[in-house]
Symmetry: C2
Subunit: 361 residues, 2 copies
């Protein structure tokens, strides 16, 4: 697949795994699943599909140096730096104009840096199929066939079949839907024809820039200025001056919802998770016979079931007695004790801490 490039979005400050994830230690840098960071895993799972020269990383200045240490094989010039985060629309736009200068026929896979995918060969197969769909002019979204009525993901409603590509059906997209309440989630699961929005996309750079020009003309115009400075000594200063003025926007809301020719490839068996909260680790990691996930430290569990215990000090004893479905995370300065089904509310606490001075965030 000539002209195929991966663009990994790695600038997020995700605090959904707080108190382990922090502003200075975002989720993609965590070594949660195995000894590799989620960012390293995201690069390595691409296997031979892209050479190191074909993998680009968009991040923020604070994270660039550490990410380069995680994946030193990716050329330094492939790390594209945002002065400040401005949402995924700007990330996509920046990567698109830079790739277009490099290869006007480029097809780019926009990938996440902090998700889990258990079935890596299957993931590469779907990326290969998406390349073909994108070559036909579609903006392709990678969908995940829902396994339960999640209220934590956005949904994509499928329309008519476009055709089968390399064994994968690609469908027209009827509608993008925000994170639903539980009733709506159940209804979509019962109705069928809905996929979770994985936040991963594949398209030709000319197609996405065409949509940006039509739907986000201010951003498009800014990107043209940056593109003109590409390859000159002014590039850095140009980005620095333009970026703060950009409107913060997601690619989903800014482009995808009203774009022409949008396709979805639903995948049923990727074993995908966005690792978006502590409870999601139970989908990803095997528990002990009591269903507990114990990570770090020494643990004695008495009548303890389906609970997570994380501690970042080896010589620390955690004793749990009579505890079910609980999350206990100890990072030394912070201890979180949270009912598993309320793990999303960690965000609420992080927001509260940000407002009151930002300590512990």
């Amino acid at each position: 697949m000539d002209h195929y490039y991966a663009v990994i979005m790695a600038g997020g400050g995700g605090t959904r795994l707080w108190p382990l994830s922090r502003k200075a230690r975002p989720k993609q840098m965590l070594r949660l699943i195995d000894e590799r960071s989620l960012f390293q895993t995201s690069v390595e799972r691409l296997g031979g599909l892209f050479g190191c020269d074909g993998i680009f990383v968009v991040t923020v200045v604070e994270q660039a140096a550490e990410l380069r240490q995680h994946c030193p094989d990716i050329p330094k010039s492939n790390y594209l730096i945002e002065p400040t985060p401005r949402g995924t629309a700007s990330v996509v736009g920046l990567a698109a104009v830079m790739l277009q200068r490099h290869d006007p026929q480029a097809v780019m896979a926009i990938l996440t840096s902090d998700h889990y995918i258990g079935n890596e060969p299957g993931f590469r197969e779907i990326l290969a199929a998406a390349y073909d769909v994108a070559q036909d002019g579609y903006l392709v979204t990678l969908g995940i066939t829902p396994s339960y009525p999640s209220t934590g993901y956005g949904y994509i409603q499928q329309g008519g079949l476009i055709q089968n590509y390399r064994g994968f059906n690609a469908y027209q997209v009827l509608r993008f839907k925000e994170k639903p309440d539980e009733d709506h989630a159940r209804a979509m699961l019962a109705a069928g024809g809905h996929a979770w929005n994985s936040g991963m996309f594949v398209w030709r750079v000319d197609r996405i820039l065409e949509e940006l020009a039509r739907q986000m003309p201010a951003l498009y115009s800014a990107l043209q200025t940056i593109s003109a400075a590409g390859g000159t000594a002014d590039l850095h200063a140009t980005v620095e001056s333009i970026w703060p003025g950009l409107k913060e926007e997601t690619i989903d809301y800014g482009v995808m919802e009203k774009a022409e020719k949008v396709a979805v490839i639903p995948a049923a068996d990727l074993m995908w998770s966005d690792v978006g909260s502590w409870d999601s680790l139970f989908d990803v990691l095997p528990g002990d016979p009591q269903g507990n996930l114990v990570m770090g430290g020494q643990h004695i569990g008495v009548d303890t079931n389906r609970s997570l215990v994380y501690v970042n000090q080896e010589h620390r004893l955690i004793v749990t007695i009579g505890v079910d479905d609980l999350v206990v995370v100890d990072t030394g300065d912070v201890l979180l004790v949270c009912r598993k089904d309320q793990a999303q509310r960690v965000r609420q606490v992080v927001n509260q801490l940000k407002k009151s001075g930002g300590e512990f965030v």
Copy 2:
């Protein structure tokens, strides 16, 4: 009240508030309720009833120095040292022979060092009444009128009224009962005429020694040897040589259950607690509007109710989300997370740790 002496038992290694209480930091040394240790509180609540010369402390060698620092006004010679703990029968016997040498007419109040008593004036009134009952030759047990069907305390079944002393009714004791199961506890509460055994006693030294001579002749004989060495340079060596050979026994089982002339004074309003497990602190300390007890550290509680959070570091943030009736105790090296109604099972973990090398105990 001439000839009245307090004997405070302060040698226990209580691990029921583990991980805060440890072998080297037993419960009586903890500053849990206020800025004073439970031992200090136990001495200070005696008020003017006993002079400092009239307060004796029985403890073990490892604890003596620190206890003396807690209560430096008690003469050093009033600290009686057990080489090793041998149960409350030996403690009582040692104090009895030492007091008898000092004052053959002594009446001794055997008191605990690690309990809470909210109504201190009421406690002194009951001690005064018990003195009179003891002068009439009774072995007096201080009973607590049960407020709920506790399975954590022993019970005393009251018999006929002896008479009223200083406003307090003293009853014959029909029977001592071990910690009951819940059905028996409910039945006793419904039947009335039962009091919790507080572990506090008042008697004349001649009466208790008479009972020891009759019921525990081996201990009595050993105590006579010790008494004979009293006031000589041999005392310490004599105790050291005799103590390891003593049978470990409680005063309840060894003497009280089969003694002659046993009385109980039930007290309804002492606001007494043995502080015997983490959940008992809810009986003793006022909670916040959500019923939470927060001790130390910084705490953010989201939907957190009737829970205890203890942390011994000020600069540590504890966040609890969606948590009811939970005990969280963080001592730096150990973190305990325990359902409140299972707090007694801490003992089970301590025993397990003792068997596996004794670390963290």
